[in-house]
């Protein structure tokens, strides 16, 4: 059921999940001859939601559940942001916009974001190709009933010219603790930007990196086919995986005691702390995760950490508790949740 704190997909692992946390495909689409969200009247925005709603009522092939953002509490909205199911903008605006989610929360269709439709498919591990194939099918299903703005020359028309063409943003979230420790991340970011890819923090544009997590995505959407864009990212990801694994091996060989010390200290703190901030927790979770991936820590599963990374965030934490909390109370409750899950 949607609205649960843990998305079903977070309980599963995917290929190469020692480095790749998740793969995401996003398609930007607009309805033909309705002004884009920023220029649209309230009636037009309602019309867009109505059309999707009708489609779901008639033939809900992908089992999507439509939620109007205006009907949700602030914490519930922000929880969806923390779970990467909607954008911060959609949550903040929360008038005449909506999201349709699949039961496992793999599929998310944002309505009246910057574009009328923003379709997202999110899978664990490195499964970009699989995510694209799924998104492609959902896109076909939407297009059967809805007139999508498409131009022979420019392809799918979007509000921002940086998305026009395929409207495709493919991205992966990677965990790079070893490359970070050996100070190679900056070098790698500059190399990646030369390949037409962008590196961002955990929550997208302008956000900072926490817990050694990085998002890498394509920049160019016009003049390349979807397959080319995705293959390019997959190839780069394979290289990142190799580099990160190499760095981990070298660290384990050359700096075993240092590494074990960092990992067990992190584990100890998480297991026994009585209050903790998000930043500290994310840092420590990153180290424990590294310990699991290296086989140093064997008594917990890495999916527990995937779940922890989401439930310790402020809004999700408060939804879980069922009440508003002060920052101090959140620090205490956060530590409690972590202790419980690591016992």
């Amino acid at each position: 059921m949607t609205g649960e704190v843990i998305s079903q997909w977070m309980k599963k692992t995917g290929p190469d999940s020692d480095v790749v946390i998740s793969s995401r495909i996003r398609l930007a689409r607009n309805l033909e001859n309705i002004r884009f969200t920023n220029q649209a009247s309230d009636d037009e925005l309602k019309e867009v939601i109505g059309k999707i709603n009708n489609l779901l009522l008639n033939n809900n092939k992908f089992d999507l559940n439509l939620l109007e953002l205006g009907d949700l509490s602030k914490n519930k909205r922000n929880m969806l942001v923390e779970k990467h199911l909607i954008s911060p903008d959609l949550s903040e605006k929360n008038i005449n916009n909506a999201v349709a989610l699949s039961s496992e929360e793999i599929i998310s269709l944002m309505i009246n974001e910057e574009d009328h439709l923003r379709l997202q498919v999110l899978l664990p591990g490195l499964q970009l190709q699989e995510a694209w194939e799924m998104a492609d099918k959902i896109d076909d299903y939407l297009e059967q009933e809805i007139n999508i703005a498409f131009d022979e020359k420019y392809g799918y028309l979007t509000s921002c010219p940086t998305n026009v063409g395929t409207g495709l943003r493919s991205s992966i979230m990677v965990h790079l603790p070893a490359l970070t420790m050996v100070n190679r991340v900056k070098k790698f970011i500059s190399a990646i930007s030369q390949l037409g890819l962008a590196v961002r923090g955990l929550y997208g544009e302008g956000t900072e990196t926490v817990g050694n997590l990085y998002q890498i995505s394509n920049q160019v959407t016009l003049g390349r086919s979807e397959d080319e864009i995705i293959e390019n990212l997959i190839e780069v990801t394979h290289q990142i995986i190799t580099q990160e694994r190499n760095a981990r091996e070298i660290l384990l060989k050359e700096k075993e005691i240092f590494l074990k010390d960092q990992i067990y200290r992190a584990y100890g703190t998480l297991k026994y702390a009585y209050k903790i901030s998000v930043e500290e927790a994310m840092k420590l979770i990153s180290n424990v995760r590294l310990g699991i991936d290296l086989g140093i820590i064997e008594d917990i599963e890495s999916t527990i950490l995937n779940q922890l990374m989401v439930i310790i965030r402020p809004a999700t934490l408060q939804v879980l508790k069922g009440e508003e909390m002060t920052i101090e109370d959140r620090h205490i409750y956060r530590a409690q949740l972590i202790r419980e899950r690591l016992q």
Partner: protein, 169 residues
């Protein structure tokens, strides 16, 4: 107090961050503050600023483009190019037609390309093909008229009408 990042120098910079209502205090030495980018000097390299810079740049005096061009307006959504160049967001699918010359340049700058080579949606794709066919038939019809082959021209006219009805134009 030592810098929380390098643990070596004295902390001289106090940074308070508030993220989703969670306040965090960080104490850094000047060096680390510069490196981690926690000192903001009012330089805005945000994506939107870079993009709108790109859009406005076309009207730089060196580009010899008349500034009054900025007032062109999309007839469908009434967005002016001036507004677009500030917000970086177009107002409707027709804007791509209304500002076509300018948009083409912008797209080349952003993507290094100006032609879609990816997926073609089924229904809209059929429409695109039908439109192409209408264009071709029109040309043939004009040729037929020029050659005074009126019967042939009438046939073509009917075919065009049929196609246009099919795609709802």
């Amino acid at each position: 107090m030592l810098c929380q990042n390098c643990q070596e120098n004295d902390a001289k910079v106090h940074v308070s961050k508030i993220i989703n209502g969670e306040k965090e205090d960080i104490y850094l030495c000047e060096e680390c503050a510069h490196i981690t980018g926690d000192l903001d000097f009012g330089l805005d390299f945000s994506f939107n600023n870079l993009l709108t810079g790109l859009l406005n740049n076309q009207f730089h005096p060196h580009h010899k483009i008349n500034l009054s061009n900025n007032n062109i307006k999309c007839e469908f959504c009434e967005l002016t190019y001036d507004t677009f160049s500030k917000s970086g967001r177009l107002g409707c699918n027709e804007c791509y037609n209304s500002f076509t010359d300018k948009i083409d340049k912008v797209l080349r700058r952003i993507h290094g390309n100006n032609r879609h080579t990816g997926k073609i949606p089924k229904r809209a794709g059929e429409k695109v093909m039908a439109k192409r066919k209408v264009k071709k038939l029109r040309k043939l019809m004009d040729e037929a008229v020029a050659k005074e082959e009126f019967e042939r021209a009438a046939e073509l006219r009917d075919e065009i009408k049929e196609l246009k009805d099919e795609i709802g134009e």
